[in-house]
Symmetry: D2
Subunit: 347 residues, 4 copies
């Protein structure tokens, strides 16, 4: 009963089977294989337009590489103050861009607001040559708070930065969860809303280790394969990554996996929000729940064998629960039942 992260889960059986099936014969190495080609074609169909697609092994690399194609070394990347690229990638975007500056912006429930962007661009990063030059905006979808940007929200932000010739990146480590929740065509929350490049995640949602950088602005992709090689992200036996993506993107498989995780999160949220002295921090729109419980309830849950992370540095009962593509509903129900019992006992 492990709700620590979607990364503690293994792989979906069909994705693993695709890896097994790919172990046939010899194949051109370094990404010039039919698996990788089919992934790009399939992504074109999913996004209803020509795209360029570059599989890589990690989400950190997907984000940092994508940003390096958008941002010169003297550039600034605007992002949410809780963005993974800013807080949890140990400076990878700085390394890949040659020292660009990440500029954190505040915003409720993980979402950047047009006012925060405008204020930063009008007042601080106004093009003055003594300051870094605004180059990119990075949005996380689903956000770090487990919420989802609507198309109009994305479009409003993209419009502001586009006027300054900045580019828009989307960190889609949980992109499938967002699409599943919003129930919209993927194009609606990406290029039609102004997104230029997407880090499309698969690992958290059932792959062994596979992410793909998807360019809608094809000009930006021009030297990307060189950047990927230089970054040590061009796998020699790339077929084993691309085969995962092919299985993941087959039909609605990626959405089915996300729908399950989202449904488990909704089920858990529903169970928790009925409890007294318990408060959800954000709307639950993907597969993450941030909730504050009485501290003794948190302790009791741990004693009962549930595993999860505290979400504040000084533990105060605020925890994060992450649901996965393969979470057992019985585990969710057990969590709710135990929390209910503990809460009642504590009253």
């Amino acid at each position: 009963m492990d709700f620590r992260s979607d990364n503690v889960a293994g792989a979906a059986p069909d994705i693993l089977q695709a890896v097994i099936d790919a172990n046939q014969g010899t194949v051109t190495s370094y990404g010039a294989d039919p698996y990788s080609e089919r992934v790009e074609t399939r992504l074109g169909a999913i996004f209803e337009r020509k795209v360029r697609a570059f599989p890589v092994a990690t989400g950190t690399a997907a984000n940092a590489l994508a940003l390096s194609a958008l941002t010169p070394s003297y550039g600034a990347i605007l992002c949410h103050e809780e963005a993974h690229i800013h807080l949890d990638e140990c400076g990878a975007p700085e390394m890949y861009t040659g020292g660009a500056k990440l500029v954190p912006l505040p915003g409720t429930s993980g979402k950047i607001t047009p006012d925060a962007v405008r204020s930063m661009l009008d007042q601080t990063l106004n093009g003055d040559l003594h300051r870094v030059q605004p180059a990119a905006l990075s949005l996380t979808q689903a956000t770090e708070a487990g919420t989802c940007y609507r198309p109009a929200e994305i479009a409003a932000l993209a419009e502001i930065v586009g006027r300054r010739k900045m580019k828009v990146h989307m960190d889609g480590a949980r992109f499938a969860n967002a699409v599943a929740h919003l129930n919209l065509a993927p194009a609606e929350i990406t290029w039609r809303a102004g997104v230029d490049v997407l880090s499309f995640g698969a690992t958290k949602n059932g792959a062994l280790g596979a992410e793909v950088v998807v360019f809608f602005d094809l000009a930006l992709a021009e030297m990307f394969e060189v950047r990927r090689k230089r970054a040590g992200q061009l796998l020699s036996k790339m077929r084993f990554v691309s085969a995962q993506l092919e299985a993941y993107l087959k039909g609605e498989r990626w959405l089915e996996l996300a729908r399950h995780a989202n449904a488990m999160a909704a089920r858990l949220a529903q169970g928790l929000q009925r409890l007294p002295r318990t408060a959800l921090l954000h709307p639950v729109e993907a597969n993450e729940i941030f909730v504050r419980l009485p501290q003794d309830v948190v302790a009791g849950l741990r004693a009962a064998g549930f595993n999860f992370h505290d979400w504040t540095d000084a533990p105060d009962g605020t925890i994060r629960l992450v649901l996965a593509f393969n979470t057992d509903p019985a585990d969710v129900d057990a969590f709710v039942a135990t929390a209910t019992k503990l809460t009642a006992a504590a009253a």
Copy 2:
């Protein structure tokens, strides 16, 4: 009948099976898993001493990351002029080190000589503050020419650079092939000869995608996990990489796989060296053959369905043939037979 590269091969069945077996339950993410721990322990046994071991996804990353732990941005890395890190990694070591300089040295059959190192250090990179500061020596084992350094050769080089407080890196993309050929304890050609850190390859020799950076100088490993994260090389579901390494390193499995590839190379070399107007460029001591054949023989081999790379930019009959852990002896024999027939016909 594909002799282009050991990267065109798939994975060994037992290594793939280890990945399948690793898909059980939840496991702590980002490398803090029991698979990774067991890999480090196993490597300690193989090398007969305490080591620190860090799995990564690609050989380029293994090399560039290892070098970044040895070399400051103002440092120089001495390497063979045909070294993969210098010619075929698109500047990855420069990216990871923040702009260190790779200094190519000549040497027969892929091996750097003590004279070349001494001359460079005495004359050019003598510590003058206007020049980059010598920081590391990188050796490739087996070399780019398919030959193997002997322990005394490594020790002689390490001694020269050690006197200047430089560190020694070994690019072991084909380390197993070298150990198999030399039939020595791995320690003899690494730390006992003065090597500080090894990029230990598995991908070319039967893994899907798994390399491991092995530190013998433990102090150098201190912040390496931070560097790995920052480089986008810390896989969230690291168990799927470490499980490959665990299977690879089990007993003598890694050596068995390499022995097969080496034996196939020896068999092919033996068949070719009997042919007239045919010359091996280097001794065949691992799983690569560099050979010059009459140009019409090369064309005839291609027409007969054999796949391999030209080794000179202006094709002159010099080709590279790479044998893999799973090369079928019948393919080798067919190649020799066809070459023999074509050579006779051309006479």
Copy 3:
């Protein structure tokens, strides 16, 4: 009547004379000259201890180079949110460090507080390997707000970060103004309080273009001359920079120049604070004044020929006035008289 910056002023006559006097004979190039040696010796006397000193041409280079000696590429540099290194150097510290992250902290009147540092280190940058690693603290003395840290304030901050093995940098672009105001031995606000390296400015205070990086932690200086060369900051005819520093540091000359600028600031502040609807934003402890005046008074001052910068992006009457080593008291008095007249008229 130009109060825009201390950079709009020229050079003090004796400093210029030293440049003229240095134009004699041939001298070893690239910093191995007697002028540079005497500067280091003189700084040792000023700071009452052995120091290493490295002249450079700009303050940006002094700061970025000094930080590069303290901070690995995966490191974090804590600084005030208004620090010049964070806002006004276009990412130079990121360039020189190979992509370290500057972490802005809030604080009244340009000063970082112990609580802000502690909170950042305990909660966010707590050593987690997914986050950048805290490496340095940078303090500005005098601060960006024209105030001065007291020795105990510096010591308190240095003690917190020292416990985590972080190093302390001081941006002393206006170091002379701070020493002049505090009337303390320079050692008291540097190494005795825990500062490891100081960017000691001369340009703003009467030099043509000369700054010097002063190391109190001598081990950190070890490869600094190599870094300076690599950064393009080792002037071939360094004597012309070092001669400036020698004249600047002769006796109390640097303090005399700063005392004049400070006295002019005090005189101006005194005149302004008596005016109605006029408010100083910060205590005036160096040579900068930040003041809010009625907007029509600001306009009137400009119309009367006074030159200065607005200090808010949307002009609201807040302006910055900078006094220099050579500001004419008559200009100060004229400013006050005009402001007084305009304020009265506006009443």
Copy 4:
């Protein structure tokens, strides 16, 4: 009698006077001053076309900054194997470009040949994605061997690399000496021959410390002022650098200074080449002489008070003699006379 370098000389009196004269009143800082504007205009006249010009403090910075505008981090810069940027700038181009690779090419008397460039581009750096991408060619004029490229030589090289969309940089640390020797319009050996950007030196030829990056390809200059700031090369009191350049470029002053240095070199060469057992290594076409003398003659010259550098690491009598804008002909004649006497005595 110091022939070590043109950097051991001081400044020309008129250039120093311009610095003195510039010390008047207040001037906008950070390069937005009338001195800098006039320098750009004057360079436009000298080169007979619109240029963009950016003064900096050192030649290393001029070169590294210029190259950073031409070369992405994954790019390669072709240069002569003895180029200052490759051997004597401690990795500055690597730092400024974010890790681009300098690719040394052989060539007699400091000159790159079309064959060497073609061979490198056809065979090694052929655009393969595993290799760095050819981005720029850097030529030194006058060369490191004291020779000068003719317009047709430059044009031939520029044509080869231009076909691959590479850019051409010229390191003109001794540009004046080349123009003086060739007696051609500056345009003939720069933009008309295919040069895109020039590092135009003044320091070695009579300035205190002033170089200027001149862009002929104006599009490349677009963000250069931001790069200059970020590199710590935007001096706050830039007028004191630009005033030097203004005096240097006034009329034919820069050429007069170079003509003197060149004439001194010719005079010295003429005197030496008549001696037995003495050989000039290269044609003397600028202000540097590379000459091999009997070793006891070299020792005798030193004993007689002449100062110069050995030019080989194991001293074998090969020395470099550099003549300056202010070298006294009597010193030259004394050198020749002493060498003649010593040679005769040794016979």
